[in-house]
Amino acid sequence: MLAGCGGGTGAEPAAGTAPAAPAPAPSPAPTPTPPPPTAQTTPADAARLLEQATFGPTDAAITQVQAGSIAGWIDQQLATPATGYAGYPVIDASVSVGCPTGSPATCNRDHYSLFLLQNQFFRNALTGPDQLRQRVAFALSQIFVVSGVDVGTAYAMAAYQQILLDGAFGSYRQLLGRVTLSPAMGRYLDMVNNDRPNPSRGIEPNENYAREVLQLFSLGTVELNADGTPRLDGQGRSIPAYDQDTVEGFAHAFTGWTYPTLPGATARWTNPVHYAGDMEPIAAHHDPEAKRLLGGVSLPAGQTPEKDLGDALDNIAAHPNVGPFIGKQLIQHLVTSNPTPAYVARISAVFANDGAGRRGNLGAVVRAILLDPEARGDAKTAASYGKLREPALLITGALRGIGGSSDGVYLRDRSNAMAQNIYQAPSVFNFYPPDYPVQGTTLVGPGFGVFSASTAFTRSNFLNSLLAGPQRPDTTVPNAIGSQLDLSAWQALATDSNALLDRIDRVLFHGAMSATTRNTILAAVDTIPASDPATRSRAALYLALSSMQYQVEQ
């Protein structure tokens, strides 16, 4: 566990850097004031909440949210434990040992690739009760990136993703500790077996994890205001958040950790590859010198690896950048790609203090993101509002919204074809950067980074295929059921094309489908005889889900 790494969640002197009490936000559009918590939740707002906080609204979930309050639904979700990824057996690091000659043909695929885990990602997303936890953990998996490109062992990635699921609503500092000591992360960003300096052998500590933990997992490259905008110096230039000496300081602080010791073996430098449990310290390989960290803080010489690590992560987690840097990305993943600075500032304030004096309470941050006036309301009309549905959410949104069942095999494959290979981003920079520019606008849109001619076709063709009929089970996969939609509820309405469109509007467009979109789809549906409800519902759903009016969630 994390002995020696605690302490980061206690009250700490954030007051000096905490943003002022949140000012009333100048929203980009005539955003209605959010209803008081006791007011009746509208179906539109319930559906919007489910788009932001789950893997897609369903007719039943909309009704369920409406039955209570939005805050109540969120609190219930915050208390729901992870469905998670149990049961991936530990296997030898070497394929030739784990899948010796004579093993089933699927051995390699099932243990040394993410195939089964990726399938399960989709099954959990479609049916798990912990929808909000999974959504936030999926967002975290795209911030604290470990990729199957380098860490393709199924049980290793399962354990890593379980950390993100379990820690999604806990403290940022604790999560950072779990992530840092994960052997999967250690392997991916080279903290594992990172040795103390050895001048005679020309060895310097590896800087990879030190650099990325600062650049991607906590601060970003430049100092930020609480509203997420860059701080500027007297000449109007942004200010680097850290320098090379600081990176080297952290790299030295992170020395002396190896893989967890195999059961029955003796710890040594270096332990063989093993991903069950946290990395372990080997004090003789930890740099004993003093280290320079952020904000002029130095670690004194002679500390243990555990103490240096804990102090170094405390130093990171206390930096004022973390709230706006992490908070803004969570907003982008859950709600909208271009939040106003005021929205970011409100979330930074909650990150700095959850109301009970705790810094970095991710559950409180997620709650605040979803309850913010910029998230809530029946419809948003600002030209900059919304986000392109990333591939996994397009896929799950269709299956959940329409109704269907899947073993995940086809969904995994199609998500990959849409350039989102789950837990297997091309690099630590994820599938797309948070500031990916949207062509023809001054806006950013992370999901646009994987939206090309090819993937645009793949997205539409996926919907077309799924609506056309079942995808047959892959018999090499245990308990395979294939992927199929259940269109019966839609077909039952389809003799009345207006009733069909009403339901599409309610479940998939949170009641905000434009008259133009509605009439265009209606006209096409009405060319199909009412005696053919199957084709009618298929055409209506294909057009609705293929439209950019749907694919950009607003």
């Binding site: 020309g202 090379q244 009309t381 919304g386 939206f451 090819s454 265009t520 006209a523 950019m548």
Partner: protein, 455 residues
């Protein structure tokens, strides 16, 4: 122009009927077939870090002795990864006395060499500025995160070796030349493998096309097909008040326009160069065949400058290198030769230049398990009719562990030529003006020459 879709695609949807957007296709001027002002660059990225030390081997007596002294002979000793001299394919130079041999699987590329259409650039790699072995000791002068796959791939692809770059030099070349393609139905950069950093421009979005199969919307099918297609077009033009919706619609609209023109090209049914790739079915040959078909269709596409991005993976040979690299070169060599033959048949051999990149070179000293580890400077291939071929460019590193070119004691070559210089030589030939080279290669000014002379 009755359908934009490969009929075989109908299996995919299980539907019937003609293409979804039949009748809604834009028309393109049928330009006269001309090979006048046309140039293309084809980047072949060898993922994983190709071991250049076994791609090009010194064959003079002293040079081979140094090589074999470190690498051994794989046919004689276990764990050795040296190639025996008898297996190497001679690469006689057009002039001079340089003696080098190619990997034994380079049979086809040896023919390209002998025809004068292939050159080798020695020991090129990411650098922030020219660097001596003494200067290497100063960390701030080095590229970031040397020997790391992700970082070194990004540095090769971006030509930025310190700090991050959001764009690649292929994409930035496309930014510069896009105005040379007025009226084109496709962007100047086409990737066969998705959106790698090389292909990302500051204001040019690359087009990704599949290696196989259909590039377009599958048909809805049935008697409702036309009505659905019509409605889809209308939806793409409606509700543009939201900027994200409008931009996404623009992407799809442009994709449909590209598909209408490209899908028949990629289907290849009328291509005259298919037979040159007969018998090859691996990924890199498929990709190069598709590139060749698109070059064949350059007039239809209304393009005069094109950049293509092709990849071959699997070069991270930490162990079992001899078999793995032989397998990969056995795919690469015939595919490149077929591509060059196709360019000749199309009459554009002098107008298309193909070049390799890779993550990094590998240690000359073998690693345990019959492989080699991540290193730095590496040798690259440049192929085409415009290439001043049968020539070695750059400086060959001295094969000596801990020697003057080795920044470690395992044979990691400190590059003597930078990616910037390599790329700039290609870019200038391609038509990037000197004034624009500084934008495409922001650190080029740090290096002496921006023209290595191979084009």
């Amino acid at each position: 122009m009755n359908t934009a879709f490969d009929p075989s695609r109908r299996r995919f949807v299980g539907g019937l009927g003609s293409g979804l957007l039949a009748g809604a296709l834009p028309s393109f001027p049928a330009l006269a077939q001309t090979s006048g002002d046309y140039k293309a660059l084809v980047c072949v990225f060898l993922f994983g870090g190709n071991d250049g030390n076994n791609m090009i081997v010194p064959t003079d007596t002293a040079g081979f002795a140094r090589y074999a002294g470190i690498r051994g002979d794989n046919t004689a000793g276990s764990g050795a990864i040296g190639l025996p001299q008898s297996q190497l394919l001679a690469l006689p130079p057009a002039s001079g006395t340089a003696q080098f041999g190619a990997h034994p699987e380079f049979t086809e590329l040896q023919q390209v060499w002998n025809a004068g259409d292939l050159a080798v650039l020695f020991n090129v790699g990411p650098l922030a500025q020219p660097l001596t072995k003494a200067e290497y000791a100063t960390a701030r002068l080095r590229p970031d995160n040397l020997f790391s796959h992700a970082d070194q791939q990004a540095q090769w692809q971006s030509a930025v070796s310190q700090g991050l770059s959001r764009s690649g030099w292929g994409g930035r070349m496309a930014d510069v030349v896009r105005n040379r393609n007025p009226g084109a139905s496709v962007p100047p950069l086409i990737s066969l493998v998705g959106r790698d950093l090389f292909t990302v421009g500051n204001n040019t979005a690359a087009l990704s096309v599949p290696q196989n199969g259909n590039f377009g919307l599958s048909s809805f099918g049935g008697s409702a097909n036309a009505a659905v297609a019509n409605a889809l077009q209308q939806l793409l033009a409606a509700d543009r008040g939201n900027s994200l919706v409008a931009s996404a619609q623009d992407t799809v609209t442009a994709a449909i326009a590209s598909s209408a023109v490209l899908n028949p090209v990629l289907g290849g049914n009328s291509s005259a160069i298919n037979s040159l790739f007969a018998g090859q079915s691996n990924s890199v040959s498929r990709q190069l065949l598709q590139v060749a078909r698109m070059i064949e269709a350059r007039s239809t596409l209304a393009v005069t400058r094109q950049i293509f991005y092709v990849t071959l993976g699997g070069f991270d040979t930490h162990n079992g290198q001899i078999a793995t690299q032989a397998n990969l070169f056995g795919q690469l060599s015939p595919a490149l030769k077929s591509f060059q033959d196709a360019m000749a048949q199309l009459g554009v051999a002098d107008q298309v230049t193909t070049f390799t990149l890779s993550d990094f070179g590998r240690t000359l000293k073998p690693a345990s398990g019959g492989g080699s580890d991540h290193a730095w400077g590496n040798h690259q291939l440049i192929m085409g009719g415009a290439v001043r071929g049968r020539t070695f460019y750059g400086q060959f590193p001295e094969h000596s562990l801990g020697g003057p070119n080795d920044i470690s004691s395992e044979g990691r070559w400190l590059p003597t030529t930078s990616v910037d210089q390599y790329g700039a030589t290609l870019a200038r030939w391609f038509g990037v003006a000197d004034a624009d080279l500084a934008t495409v290669f922001p650190n080029l000014r740090n290096f002496g020459t921006s023209n290595l002379g191979f084009l």
